[in-house]
C-alpha cells in the first residue's frame, strides 16, 4: 500500500474483520474499498473511518463505497451506511455504493434503502 492518496488498515475483532483501502478520485471525492463484514463488530470502526474521511473530502464531492467484497451486512451495518449518507448529504455530497453483492443488496432492499 502506501503511495499518494492510498491507505490501508485492518480492523479486526478475532475473525470478524473489515479491511479497507481508500483511493483518491481524479475529479475529487474518494473511493473507499471495503472487504469483509459490516456488522455489530465492525460498524463502530466504520463510522469512525467515515468521519475521519469527511475531513479529506471537498464539499460536494462523492464518497464511493466499493462493497464488492463485503460479504455480510446486518442492521448495524445498514445503520452505518445511513449515517454515512446523512453526513455526506449534510455536506452537499452523496454516498454511492458500487459492486453490491446479491445478499447485501437484498438486505438493503428489505430496508428500503437505495444508493
Amino acid at each position: 500500500m502506501g503511495g499518494h492518496g492510498s491507505r490501508h488498515r485492518v480492523v479486526s475483532w478475532t475473525n470478524m474483520n473489515l479491511t479497507w483501502e481508500t483511493q483518491a478520485r481524479t475529479q475529487g471525492g474518494l473511493t473507499l474499498k471495503l472487504i469483509g463484514r459490516l456488522d455489530s463488530a465492525t460498524a463502530g470502526e466504520f463510522d469512525s473511518l467515515v468521519e475521519s474521511l469527511l475531513a479529506e473530502l471537498g464539499a460536494g464531492s462523492p464518497l464511493v463505497l466499493d462493497v464488492g467484497r463485503v460479504t455480510f451486512i446486518s442492521s448495524m451495518g445498514v445503520r452505518s451506511l445511513l449515517k454515512a449518507r446523512k453526513a455526506m448529504q449534510a455536506r452537499g455530497g452523496a454516498v454511492q455504493l458500487i459492486h453490491i453483492q446479491p445478499q447485501v443488496a437484498s438486505v438493503l432492499q428489505m430496508a428500503n434503502l437505495y444508493f
Binding site: W13, N15, S40, A41, S74, M76, R79, L82, R85, M110
Partner: protein
C-alpha cells in the same frame, strides 16, 4: 420448534461483547454438516446477530454479565437456533415494524434488526418460561 428444545445442542456463553463471535463459530460448525449454500448461511448469520445483540445489550442490567444459551438443531428440513437468557422479560417480536417509507432524515433505525430477521427466517417463536426468554427460529434448506 420450541417444543423440541431437548433435541438442541446448547452451549452457554457469557452475554458480553464476545458472545456473538463465540455463538457464530458454534453455529457455523453445526451448519457445516448440512452443506448449506451461502445465501442460507447469510440468513442464519443475520438472524443470529440481530437476536443475540439484543440480548447482550438489553437482557441484563449494565455492569452485570449474565449468560445466554445458544442452541442449534440441524435436521433434514434445515437448521433451527435457540437463544435463551435469564434477563428481564423481553419479546423482540412485539417490536413494531419500522416505517420504511418515511423520509431518511426522520427514519428511526430501531426495530430494523428484528424486521430483517423476520424476513430471513421461515419461522420464529418467543416464549417466556421459568423466568427465561426463549427465542427459536428456523431456516429451511432450499
Amino acid at each position: 420448534m420450541i417444543n423440541r428444545l431437548n433435541e438442541f445442542n446448547f452451549i452457554p456463553i457469557p452475554a458480553d461483547e464476545k458472545a456473538l463471535e463465540t455463538a457464530r463459530q458454534f453455529v457455523l460448525e453445526q451448519a457445516e454438516r448440512l452443506n448449506l449454500p451461502a445465501p442460507i448461511i447469510f440468513k442464519i448469520e443475520l438472524a443470529l446477530e440481530e437476536i443475540l445483540v439484543n440480548v447482550v445489550h438489553y437482557a441484563y442490567p449494565p455492569g452485570t454479565t449474565g449468560v445466554v444459551d445458544v442452541g442449534c438443531l440441524t435436521d433434514e428440513a434445515g437448521i433451527s437456533l435457540c437463544i435463551a437468557d435469564s434477563g428481564r422479560p423481553f419479546n423482540p417480536l412485539e417490536k413494531e415494524k419500522p416505517d420504511l417509507d418515511i423520509e431518511l432524515e426522520e427514519r428511526q433505525i430501531g426495530g430494523l434488526g428484528i424486521f430483517l430477521t423476520r424476513e430471513m427466517v421461515d419461522a420464529i417463536e418467543y416464549r417466556r418460561e421459568q423466568d427465561r426468554n426463549i427465542i427459536t427460529f428456523t431456516i429451511r434448506k432450499p
